[in-house]
Subunit: 97 residues, 2 copies
Amino acid sequence: MKQENFGETIRRLREKKGLLLRQVAAALEIDTALISKIERGERKAQKEQVGKLAELLEVNTEELMVTWLSDKIVDLLEEEPLAHKVLKNSGKRLKDK
Amino acid sequence: MKQENFGETIRRLREKKGLLLRQVAAALEIDTALISKIERGERKAQKEQVGKLAELLEVNTEELMVTWLSDKIVDLLEEEPLAHKVLKNSGKRLKDK
DNA sequence: ATTGACTTGTCACTAATTGTCAAATGTAGT
DNA sequence: ACTACATTTGACAATTAGTGACAAGTCAAT
């Protein structure tokens, strides 16, 4: 099945909980416009905000962090024909550390 | 075997060809100090410079590009306990595009 | 002690990111 | 259509990260 990106994930979770953007924004102490942009992928959340979101949305912080980090990698590689090789190589290098 | 990072790779190739930093710097039209930092991983090369380096060092551009991109991912994930999960998730997402 | 290769620290400049605000758009309900 | 509220958009300011140059430094060989 198709994997969700970070914005889609937090939007789905927010709606499931019946929260408004304004409420999430208040909890993170940012402007409503910004969380709107984050949900639509126009801006990236900061790492600290991912933790706050996980708590607010009552999901596992690590799961959400995986999606958030994964967004960065997809950004980096989506235009790269070599993406698969890069991931393989990175995996090796991260292992033998 | 242990995987080389970008800096180690270009240093090894440069030394194999008997080139001086100053010569590589001239070819890339940058300061010698900068290429020194790139080899030691203190700075990152730009994408354009990777191409020039591959040509100068007579290696496959794509191979070098893989190492260079991989550096970025290692940077992003090396302090992350979740690295493996992130790579797996990213792989999936890059596939079903 | 001079030379040549490389390294290090600092600074200036630029580019990218993050955030806010105000205005615009969308969506129900009356 | 009018209101009220939620969300989005665009423009801009503020912050932060990246890029590169320069000058001074170390190190090894002679």
